[in-house]
């Protein structure tokens, strides 16, 4: 029997008259990789911020790992982690120092061994002693991912995990995520603009526009339903306001 790990019910977020998220509901099962897709301003980042508890919803309910995120957020946080290219780590600290601090915040046992294992896995050991600010975008992303995997989270939320990465680094990041999930049965929830990434990693897609969910399904199912070649074309249909079966050439 499948277990629901993320349950969102009638979630709203208003900024004054602006409805950033407008009554969305969805469920993600344990071990699934779910992508939240949509154009800029669709409400993806707002939704992720609410899932993380960084943003309070105007209305609605979020349950992660069986806990109500509004009431018992701190019971969930040790079992969850997150990575985003838009949220940095302290610039002046070295990579090792940053990871050590976060390992202690998450209560990781045998910090040194954990750092070494992640260093090998993500190939970041060579710059462990370099200040975070001196790293390239690709190196920063791998370090942020190491931070996100420190506590071996059951739920991993990723905001554009391969944004601004070269194809080689992006591929390596995706492989790391796949390996981690295969090993741990973790649930991955990601927002992405990279459709080939979504096709490769995800078994569930939630498509958003103007704060609402406009469609949902497995990537292959959506491609078939929209009569398209790939998710890129499905995404364009959604972004341009077309429904499934309403094909333009």
């Amino acid at each position: 029997m499948t277990e629901t790990v993320i349950a969102v019910e009638d979630l709203h977020k208003n900024y004054g008259p602006v409805k950033a998220v407008d009554g969305i509901s969805f469920r993600v099962q344990r071990g699934a990789t779910c992508a939240l897709l949509g154009g800029n301003g669709a409400g993806k980042t707002t939704t992720i911020a609410m899932l993380l508890g960084l943003l309070l919803p105007t209305q609605g309910r979020i349950t992660i790992l069986g806990e109500d995120m509004l009431r018992h957020r701190y019971r969930v946080l040790p079992r969850l982690n997150f990575s985003s290219p838009y949220v940095d780590l302290p610039h002046r600290l070295t990579v090792a120092q940053n990871l050590t601090v976060y390992a202690r915040l998450y209560g990781v046992r045998r910090v040194r061994e954990r750092l070494q294992a992640l260093g090998r896995e993500l190939d970041i050991t060579a710059f462990f002693n370099r200040p975070y600010r001196n790293l390239s975008a690709g190196q920063k992303t791998r370090v942020a991912l190491a931070k996100a995997l420190l506590n071996e989270p059951e739920v991993l939320l990723l905001d554009e995990p391969t944004a601004s990465l070269d194809p080689d680094t992006a591929d390596r990041v995706r492989s790391t995520l796949q390996d981690y999930q295969a090993r741990s049965s973790a649930t991955l929830f990601l927002a992405s603009h990279n459709m080939s990434e979504v096709e490769r990693l995800c078994d569930q897609v939630i498509l958003m526009r103007s704060g609402r969910i406009v469609d949902t399904g497995a990537p292959r199912e959506l491609i078939r339903r929209y009569g398209r070649q790939d998710m890129e074309e499905v995404f364009l249909d959604i972004a341009r306001g077309l429904q499934s079966g309403e094909v333009t050439v």
Binding site: Y15, L54, N81, Y86, V87, V101, R104, G107
Partner: protein, 265 residues
């Protein structure tokens, strides 16, 4: 309410790493307090030749300058260190970790204490060979004065941090000017009785005024004014509760407005 010493320690370690990363930062901590002591030391020496009051109590101005710096450094130790999280756009990661806001507050207070001890401690030690004056000669009352000024600095620092959390780094200059607004009415170098009558009740609402009155009593009358100490402690209880309350409220507002995710330089 669960409190983790491990998580507080992790944050103190984070700020310790920052301090350790540059010897200039450590030097800077001691620089201004030392300059203050040198300046007031020479002023004291000059006045000692013409003032019977100061000739009786060498070091009155030096002690006042040092204690004032305890208040200033304590406040900066909370607010400036908190700004580091904004400069590095790190708040999102911090508050997705199990770290509670009150644990961050306790970590900020701890690192503020360490920074103040390094900065003001160095200046106080230098005053001994430079001017033959040891602020430690005040004895146990000094501990009470120091603790009260630290707590008041924390309270003001938390209010400044709350303002910046709410209004962004555009408000960061408040960190440098907030405490100076209180300087004229804290009676650092003169008794509160010097102030105009209408201003005296305002001054007496500050814990710092009672600390400096108490300091003068110790140095000029060799008397420990327990009443001044109690006023300072009671007022500090109110100030600290207000500082923590304002910071936590500001954190709640930041969660409502999505500021934790976006905030940075």
């Amino acid at each position: 309410m669960s409190l983790s010493v491990r998580r507080i320690g992790a944050m103190v370690l984070r700020y310790g790493y920052l301090l350790r990363s540059s010897w200039l930062r450590v030097l800077e901590l001691a620089y201004w307090p030392t300059v203050q002591v040198i300046l007031w030391g020479f002023i004291s020496q000059f006045f000692m030749t013409s003032s019977t009051l100061l000739s009786q109590v060498a070091g009155l101005l030096i002690a006042a300058a040092l204690l004032w710096d305890v208040l200033f450094r304590s406040q900066l130790g909370v607010s400036i260190v908190f700004f580091e999280e904004l400069y590095s756009r790190n708040l999102g990661h911090l508050f997705v970790s199990p770290l509670r806001p009150y644990e961050l507050i306790l970590a900020l207070m701890t690192i503020s204490l360490i920074r103040t001890l390094i900065g003001v401690g160095t200046a106080a030690l230098l005053a001994i060979p430079f001017y033959g004056y040891s602020v430690f000669s005040m004895g146990l009352p000094l501990l009470g004065f120091f603790a009260n000024l630290m707590v008041m600095g924390w309270a003001v620092g938390l209010m400044v941090a709350a303002l910046v959390l709410r209004y962004g780094l555009g408000a960061e200059s408040i960190a440098w000017i907030a405490i100076f607004a209180l300087a004229p009415i804290s009676g650092i170098y003169y008794p509160i009785a010097i102030l105009p009558p209408w201003l005296q009740p305002v001054a007496l609402a500050l814990p710092s005024s009672h600390v400096f009155e108490g300091m003068r009593a110790v140095l000029l009358e060799h008397a420990f004014r327990i009443d001044q100490m109690l006023y300072a402690v009671l007022l500090n209880g109110v100030y600290l509760a207000a500082g923590v309350g304002v910071f936590l409220f500001s954190f709640h507002v930041a969660r409502q407005r999505g500021l934790l995710f976006q905030m940075g330089e």
